[in-house]
Structure formats: structure tokens, C-alpha cells
């Protein structure tokens, strides 16, 4: 590890982002905040893809994969927000712990 940025710096940033995102998914009550945690996790994966593409493989395949991940994140946000709206209409709340109608 040196001061100037290298692969390890990007990997550590991505690991931190992943942990924060996972913590948001696990602890937030609000459904939209859970979605934001998922976005953080996907961004951590993207950062790893680009860092490995730059420092290890020297190929653009990682970049193409990141484009697909961004696309999937956009799709996921749209569909998940539609589900959140449906939940809001039904339960009048988007707090995740209150949605327990199917719990046995």
C-alpha cells in the first residue's frame, strides 16, 4: 500500500460501500431507504469491475458489464418503486415491518 492510488484503494472503497449498503438494507424500516441500500451495493460492485478492468485485465469487458449493471439498477428502481406504491395503497405505509400479511 502506498499513498498514490492503486487497486487496493479502490477495493477498500468498494468494500466500505458494500458494507454500508448492506447495513442500510438490514436496518432501515422505510422501503425506499432499503432501495437506496441496494443501489449502494450495486455501485460497489461497479467500482470493483472498473478497477479490475483498469488494473488487472486491461480489457473493456468489465466496462460493458458495468453498463448492464447500471441498466438493471434503473429497471430495478422503477419496478421496486411501483411495488412500493402498490404496498402504500394497500397498507397506507411503506414501513417494511408492517407488511406482514403473508406471515404465518
Amino acid at each position: 500500500m502506498t499513498l498514490s492510488p492503486g487497486l487496493y484503494h479502490y477495493l477498500i472503497i468498494a468494500a466500505l460501500l458494500f458494507c454500508f449498503g448492506l447495513c442500510a438494507v438490514l436496518t432501515r424500516r422505510n422501503g425506499i431507504a432499503v432501495l437506496m441500500g441496494i443501489e449502494l451495493i450495486l455501485n460497489a460492485a461497479n467500482l470493483n469491475f472498473v478497477a479490475f478492468s483498469n488494473y488487472v485485465t486491461h480489457a473493456l469487458g468489465g466496462h460493458v458489464f458495468v453498463i448492464f449493471v447500471i441498466l438493471l439498477a434503473a429497471i430495478e428502481a422503477a419496478v421496486a418503486l411501483a411495488i412500493v406504491f402498490a404496498i402504500y395503497r394497500h397498507f397506507h405505509s411503506i414501513e417494511v415491518p408492517q407488511v406482514r400479511e403473508m406471515q404465518g
Binding site: 436496518t27 432501515r28 449502494l40 488494473y55 488487472v56 473493456l60 466496462h63 453498463i67 441498466l71 434503473a74
Partner: protein, 171 residues
Amino acid sequence: MEITQILYVAGFYLFALLTIVSAFFVTFARNIMRAVFSLMFTLFGIAGLFLFLHADFLAATQVLIYVGGVLVLLLFGIMLTQRMVEADIRSGRIQFVPALIAMVILMGFLLFLIFETPWNVKQPANFQDTTSGIGTLLMTEWLLPFEVASILLLAALVGAVSIARARRPVS
């Protein structure tokens, strides 16, 4: 060190700090609006880090799609589902301590993996312009996933509209 080198390193750490600090606020801010705006700074910071990794096209895509699209969607979602008059846009937490412990353990495990794996690190690639390369790859090697992604977009469009639309009352 040259002055440009110093500026390069300082810029990297600026973007890294911006990303990590705002990601912290995304997770731990009590006010959900504050968390959304922190997410915007996180996404901008990651776009900056992409620039440091010679991924110019991805940085532009990140700003356009995430900041311009996903973030606006999230903001709409919050504004439509929170009762603003009650000013109750706080977001409580559940199972906070176990999640924190799991997060610390996971972070230690990831750090262990990062430093123990032999990564075969080379000199950073000097991509000149990634846009034409990505375009060529999308039209040749990744053509099938590209087309499947367009079908997936269409399906998500129809699905999101049909899920979110208000049900007509049964007459």
C-alpha cells in the same frame, strides 16, 4: 513529487472521501430526505472515481442514469408516500446492533480477502477512448445480452405501469 502528481493524488482522496462519507450518511442519517441527497453525492463521487480509472464513458453514464434517473425516481417515491404535513419523514431502524456487528465482521472478512489474494496487479491500463471500444464490444461479443436487455427494459416498463396503476373499483 510533481505538482500534477500531487493534484492527482489529492483529487483521488477528495472523491474517495466524498463517496465514503456520503455513503455513511445514506445508511445512518435519520432523515430520509437527507439520505437521498447524500446518495446523490455518493453517486457523483463514484463517477469521479470512474474518471480516475480511465472510464470516461461510464462516468458520464453514471451521472446521466443514476443522478438524472434513479435519484429522481427515488425522490418522487419519497414525496408521494410520506405524509409531508405531519413532517414525519424520519426513518426508524430495526435490528440495529446485530446488523452493525455483522457489518463489522463482513468488513474484516473483505479486508482479509483483499490483502491475502494475489491480484496480479499490472500497470494501470491507458485506455484512450473507451466509448468506441465499448460500442464495438456491444455490437459483436455482447450482442445477445444487449438485445435481451432491451426486451427486459420493455417488460419492466409494462410491468411497472401495470403494478403501479390504481385498480379500477369493481362496479
